[in-house]
Assembly symmetry: C2
Homo-oligomer: 116 residues x 2
Amino acid sequence: MAKRAVAAAGRGSGPILCCGAVTEAPLGEADAESLAGVLGALADPVRLRLLSIVASNEEVCSCDLEGPLRKSQPTISHHTKVLAEAGLIAGEKRGRWVWWRVVPSRLEAVRQALGG
Amino acid sequence: MAKRAVAAAGRGSGPILCCGAVTEAPLGEADAESLAGVLGALADPVRLRLLSIVASNEEVCSCDLEGPLRKSQPTISHHTKVLAEAGLIAGEKRGRWVWWRVVPSRLEAVRQALGG
DNA sequence: CTTATAGATTGACAATATTCGATTTATCCG
DNA sequence: CGGATAAATCGAATATTGTCAATCTATAAG
């Protein structure tokens, strides 16, 4: 066993809204909390840059994020965790490194929820 | 003069990103701040429900939001202000009331920025 | 086994955000 | 004018969040 999925739990799986989009009908409280959670994960400049770096490179190691983002290692770890728990990225541990990829379907789900 | 635009200033106008989307290339810091600002306005359950109510009704008076959202008047006022400054809704004061509408192009711009 | 390295976790602190009561401003009506 | 109503602003309490130093865990290499 050389691979291991990382941080795939949390609120990361399943649909964001039970049905429809923000623009279609008044949101229930549960749906609002759900969507706000994912949007909250996106609503940070460091996490947006992190996500865009991962999206631009197929696969990115955590260790390659400290440089471009100019944040400490614990901070990077915190942000990857937030994005992973929101289901927006998925990590795989290989040896000492964790490799991150975007989850395109999750981003698509966000756009849908926003009325896409 | 019976009409007046409300809270159209702030970061509300202009494009969210200078070019491309989060998924296309690493975001610059300015773009990241810009997008995070708009997403931050969306990343609150009360504001999402507020937005969905306005979107579902062409035009909604602030006074008609207190009931469904079950928040105090100052809280509603605060949230409409945040959404308006993000350019997501626009208000028009008519007499004693302020009528809110969504700005569909702004929501579309968010979806685009997210890789739509 | 020992050392080195990647990443996660913990704890603390500063900065922000949400919320509401009280007050103020603006507008309408009699 | 004076009373009533819609909304904005102010001030304060509370909760949440972003950040990093220090520490811990896991894996690789010698």
